[in-house]
Symmetry: C2
Subunit: 297 residues, 2 copies
């Protein structure tokens, strides 16, 4: 087998990236979900977003979610913040780490956050100053292409990442926002930015897991995943959401790559997530169970 | 990038493996589907099964389907046959190639075909004699494990394959009948049987595409796939069917591996398949379109 890393770090994004597009889930249920994910062994959980509750009703109550979480669970709770005001609220509420999105696509940035890439980078700089040493991850969206411009050269994406680091980001995540990544594109990006990055994949075109496998082979050891595959667009029939946490852990377990996460407990968390959003989640491992599950005698 | 083969052969199995578990589709519609798949450039299509119409109503009318097909399409039409009687009917009806399933799992064989592996191999021998030189593929099912025994050692699977070859099979396919394959298991099997095989994957646990990618890296150049991901159990919510033809071709196109198949035409065939079975098929590429599809201006 191609040489693979011995261990991998997973940042769970279901409670934020996953739930943001769903009908709002009550604060106590969001606390339950985050707690179940921490209990499964996930060391980093994007738990909340400090965004306008009018714009994203499902993310309302972020401070209340953070207040409800056990701070001795061993998990770091991350807050997504779109701007300085969001960062202030997140830090006041005790967020231990922040995540800020910068798009590699000018058009996507313009349409989705009404900002140029320059303006987003300036915002990131202010947020990093405010964070005063707390970790700030910059997530570069559309890192494998955009539905507006099509392919975006890996060198252009790398430049956005480098400028985010200059602005003070302590780590970089490259996100396949609309499911355009393939193993070839992953290889091109890693060749440009190195393997000391986190990757964030979607199953929009069913390539999330194969991209993660290709990235592992290239030495990448940090991934974003979402419990139950929550995320993406629940309204595109047949299309998946984010790469499912239990799908990646199921693969890693079989490959002998340590993640520190319990698959059995993840499956319990996936069942909880499914009950909270009241729809069948696009997670084959959650539906079928792990490969070790035998037929009843 | 790991060195990959320059070209790959795909055997389309949707009209048989895919449709067999669906409500019956009328013969003229099955002919239309097979024809659309041949028009997309698929060189080998498992079009029918000569099985008991009482046991598998969706496969009734196999001779009529074969009679309706254009024999100058460039595609070879394969018939699945469970026994000598089926092979006689298939050859009378003009099947150009046969496929016979032998299980690597004693218990699966016993429960699903009521035969021992020995009895299946004896049947295969008779079928090969009857075929008189026409290609007979042996598909070894449960090649990556069985829900009854769990893992099956690659050496045991290899022995079943070797005995199928001795019995006269002209090619071997190893099938992940219940979605237990992983890249590690693929590597173990290829180490035992070599890369001159065909592999057949399911998306039961979302690993079909990553397994195909791992197999490509190991030099395997022949795959079974199913249009729209038809197959598997349509009644397990969230669980996929067979590896989707358009999902594999979408990946191969981006990797620069030639399949001779047109993705655009496959997507038309997938839309036809979906309309015939009257349910949303588990095919992300069919739902989302290829990565090159941009947002409307």
């Amino acid at each position: 087998m191609t040489s693979l890393p011995s261990c991998v770090r997973i940042r769970e994004v279901g409670p934020r990236d996953g739930l943001q597009g769903e009908s709002p889930v009550a604060v106590p249920d969001r606390v339950r979900l985050v707690s179940a994910l921490a209990a499964a062994g996930l060391g980093e959980i994007e738990a909340v977003a400090f965004v306008s509750p009018r714009a994203v009703p499902a993310m309302a109550g972020a401070a209340e979610v953070l207040a409800g979480l056990d701070r001795d669970s061993g998990a770091v709770y991350v807050a997504l913040v779109p701007n300085v005001r969001g960062a202030e609220l997140a830090l006041e509420a005790g967020a231990e780490a922040l995540n800020v999105t910068i798009s590699a696509s000018r058009e996507y940035s313009h349409r989705n956050v009404g900002q140029s890439i320059e303006e987003s980078l300036a915002g990131l700089r202010s947020i990093c100053a405010l964070a005063a040493g707390r970790p700030v991850d910059a997530t570069v969206s559309c890192a494998f292409g955009s539905p507006y411009e099509g392919d975006i050269e890996a060198g252009v994406v790398a430049t956005v990442g480098a400028r985010a680091s200059e602005a003070g980001a302590t780590s970089l995540t490259f996100a396949d926002t609309t499911g355009m990544a393939t193993p070839r594109r992953v290889e091109e990006l890693v060749a440009s930015v190195g393997s000391e990055i986190r990757l964030h994949f979607h199953e929009t075109r069913g390539t999330g897991l194969v991209n993660a496998y290709a990235a592992l082979q290239l030495g990448v050891t940090a991934f974003d995943t979402s419990i139950g595959g929550l995320g993406g667009s629940p309204f595109v029939a047949g299309a998946g959401g984010n790469l499912a946490t239990e799908g990646l852990v199921h693969l890693l377990d079989d490959l002998g790559v340590t993640s520190g996460v319990s698959l059995e407990r993840l499956l319990e968390a996936a069942a909880l997530a499914q009950s909270l959003v009241k729809r069948v989640l696009p997670s084959p491992v959650a539906a079928a169970g792990p490969r070790s599950r035998l037929a009843p005698a």
